[in-house]
Subunit: 302 residues, 2 copies
Amino acid sequence: MGIRDIKEYINSKRELVNAFLDSYFTPPIKPIKLNDAMVYSLMAGGKRLRPILCIASYEACGGKAEEIVSYASALEFIHTYSLIHDDLPAMDNDDLRRGRLTNHKVYGEGMAILAGDGLLTEAFAILSTTDHCSESGFMPPSSSLLRIINSVAKAAGLHGMVAGQAQDLLSEDLAPEEQTLAFIHSHKTAALIGVSVKMGAMLADAPEEAIIKLTGYGANIGLAFQVVDDVLDLTESTETLGKPSGSDERKKKMTYPSLYGIQESKKRAESLISSALACLEGFDDKAWALRDIAAYMLNRKN
Amino acid sequence: MGIRDIKEYINSKRELVNAFLDSYFTPPIKPIKLNDAMVYSLMAGGKRLRPILCIASYEACGGKAEEIVSYASALEFIHTYSLIHDDLPAMDNDDLRRGRLTNHKVYGEGMAILAGDGLLTEAFAILSTTDHCSESGFMPPSSSLLRIINSVAKAAGLHGMVAGQAQDLLSEDLAPEEQTLAFIHSHKTAALIGVSVKMGAMLADAPEEAIIKLTGYGANIGLAFQVVDDVLDLTESTETLGKPSGSDERKKKMTYPSLYGIQESKKRAESLISSALACLEGFDDKAWALRDIAAYMLNRKN
């Protein structure tokens, strides 16, 4: 069965993704400063959660990780763009991310905006490329790739992340309120994490029923991720987080703990993880990594 | 043969595009402020040059405009996003666009950045949608749409617009220099205009030779457009332009006139238009609009 330790699994898939990302800008694109700004944030030590979830989902459907690393990595382009834009002074105005200066602090606001724009656009170039898998002999059908691009665009854009970030921006300083909080969390973070899992199943050309189940797993785990994130911001140190702890509170962000308290939020995360696991019923042992990632997510510290 | 006046042709195709764009956000997406910010710039009276060129190219290859309005309009989403981001204080810092306040002046910088992000992402959702043409019974092959998405992503991103805008930003205050100027113009403006024409041919599933010729037409006309734009900034009034005239000079932008002078720039634009027309050799009368648009572009005032 190969490696069964989830930490080793995550590390080995992260290596695959990092190798792809690392080689992507070799040779660099012009102008070099734009290239460097993108690489700076792309290679800043991210967890690669979205690509890893995509790969684990693909493997749960019987595929081999190596076949889809490029497509999975496109999700990290989108995630990185969102971090660069979120950190801008006009948005969350953060100076620190993963223990390093944020993109605009190093490259200036204009270049940071363009680095984000470039990463987002290039993600769709990667998802629509049909020849970079020729080494492995694997080639998803054009119709699957089109459906994937459509799902990813919706989850990253107006039916997901961009809408969630806009609502987040509009809700600062407002009293926490259940419906708005649910909208922000499901759109800002859960949508892209959810589509990462769905995408793995679509790349595997899995039966519709399996795609629906894995989409359910993804939606629950995506929401759980954000609830845990909110709690960690209050309970962990700046050092552990790699960004200032307690910053949600200072910025008067609408979060789960601000509405329900820390204990209730933890319970909510646990319940979401249970729901995620329930969606995997009927999947065989090839879904072990998806199962173990769910538990792992609950116990993460940053 | 229908309408043969190019102004009427442009107006009628613009109406088609405007009708699609106008209905796109009905019902509006949430949050409503994000919706309004996008609509504000999308419906600000743009020329719709890119969608019209796409449609004219599609018609030159034997298609009917109505079949591809949605795909063509996606180009206007991308163009509008680029204007919103370019106008930001960290970029060109413009207060006025098409005679109205720029997006961030009305909605704030954070919302303007998100409106741009949302429009860009939604463009790829539109290009990957396969069911909105069912009314006309037209449906491009999945493989064509994938190729189109790939070409558009490259032209809008790191092999085109984003790279050009980054170089433009880096070149302010520098002495004009031939190679850099050529890079900026071919990437910042010409790439997206060029791919608009190419896309029309690809939607029509035209023979590779026709796609290559129309790509050549697009590249030349795209470059001509930017050279004319540089000249107009110096020779037309703020009122005619809908934005402050002479602003390139004030911002010390690297432009054609700054390097070659106005007269030489006009000659260069004429020569590019001739090259564009030469690419249409072998096309029959269905390419009349593409031919007339080339001449029209040379004589535009804004």
